[in-house]
């Protein structure tokens, strides 16, 4: 039996005192409060930024800024914070690139009201979650879906999946990678998934 000295388990000094915000706490906050806003954020960016190829980078930049602020202090309310960050970034970039798309400015003003729109209640989210995952899985390419389901639902190892699918392990990794990227977009970005079921 190990007479334990602090093994430094986890990536945070467990002896940290007081109101230190730990990285896992920011991670948890980011996953719980920020990622669910992604569909609305993407819609906002798509409406307000002409060059669609910039959008992935804009989103990344917004997430970085939001995360960075949260390391100092976790905002009380994520939604206004994320959208204010998004607005400020767009304004800065419009100035930077010396473009002022007319609809962008008017939309940003309209945003103030949109921010307060209440989200769907948690009951709906819980019931909807499984259906949403099913729908998302259905949209994956067949091989990516097969690998993903074998891993996540059946708990098979990479090697077992490779044997079953008759491919190399590196191919399994590729399918899993593609599945996770597509699912991230389907589960977080796609606006169709935000609508409440009737």
């Amino acid at each position: 039996m190990t007479k334990n000295t602090e093994p430094g388990f986890g990536d945070v000094d467990p002896r940290a005192q007081g109101a230190v915000i730990t990285a896992p706490e920011v991670d948890a906050w980011f996953v719980r409060e920020v990622l669910p806003l992604e569909a609305a954020l993407m819609q906002f960016l798509q409406h307000n930024w002409r060059n669609k190829s910039d959008i992935a980078d804009l989103r990344q930049d917004i997430y970085v800024r939001v995360y960075e602020s949260a390391l100092r202090e976790i905002p009380g309310s994520a939604k206004p914070f994320v959208f204010t960050t998004a607005r400020n970034l767009l304004i800065t970039r419009m100035r930077h690139e010396q473009i002022v798309p007319f609809e962008a400015v008017s939309d940003i003003e309209a945003l103030e009201t949109a921010i307060d729109e209440p989200g769907p209640d948690s009951t709906v989210i819980a019931r909807d979650e499984l259906r949403r995952l099913q729908t998302a899985l259905d949209q994956l390419p067949p091989r990516a879906r097969e690998a993903f389901v074998l891993r996540q639902v059946h708990g098979l190892s990479g090697r077992e999946i490779a044997t079953r699918m008759g491919v190399a392990e590196v191919t399994v990794k590729y399918h899993l990678k593609e599945a996770s990227r597509l699912l991230a977009n389907l589960l977080y970005s796609e606006h169709a998934n935000v609508r409440r079921p009737q």
């Binding site: 430094g8 706490e25 995952l133 996540q152 639902v153 079953r164």
Partner: protein
Amino acid sequence: MSVSNETGGLVPQDAMRIEDIAADWSALRRVSETWTPTQQAELDAWLAQSLAHRVAYLRIEATWQRTERLAALRQPMREPVDGGSVPGARWARIAAAIGFALLTGVIAGSYFDQPQGQLIETPKGGQEKLTLADGSQIELNTDTAIRINLASQTRAAELIRGEAFFQIKHDATRPFVVTAARHRIVDLGTKFAVRMAPQSLRVALVEGSARLEDAKTGKRAVVLSPGDVAMATADATHVSKTSERELSESLAWQRGVIVFRNTQLVDAAAEFNRYGGPKLIVADAEAANLRINGTFLITGAADFAGIAREIFGLHVERRDGSIILSR
């Protein structure tokens, strides 16, 4: 961390590439039979390079974990997926299993105006925050059931199982009474947490004061003040003082994390298992007695197992949706 700056300096124009690398790391971890300290160090180094890497990785990992949690709701599927089966048919069975979980119900509604009281439940891995008509708030942790009854003269809640945090709007004319097992907690204007275990009840008082007593006789009453943690069993109530830090750590679930401090591996595994997800099994006594420190996401059972392997050299095996840790 000089990724962005006030002048709107742009992050490198490669969000898609970063996402690709992040997804590659996540997939690699999941197909690897062994995960070496060197690989972990490489991943850590990549994550430390830029917050853009970290948020991209977090987003992909959140996707994996979100789907992992759903797999926990499935019906156990014992039959092996034989090589001859058609992928579509297999998928249909999985879909049917998920559909079944959907039908068996997840969370009750939240209607507080019914006089007979409203039963509210969270599934394993679920958490829910309730705001009552009187402005009081109750936050439910995983696998919890509570019945709430707000009447004109009285306010009552019965904790049937699980764990909840109460933030009660004080009303001297209408005290809020929480019953749990054979105990009763009478609010005297307060914030407190209650957790039920098979043989005992743990009440931690955060703010204000409350009285804990036997629900039938009103005997063995103790008045709790901030920092008090009461452990009540059928025959005795023991009160001890905890530090603000310990108190905050025991409420870490409200922030989506679990904090371990010199915790035995077997207890840590049990804590994760409360939240569903892949079931952690500690297979032998030697591994069970190892002690750990750290902060983890409540959905981080798989990460936890990976780190246990790395630090203690434990053997980690995945089988039937469980993760088995052994020496």
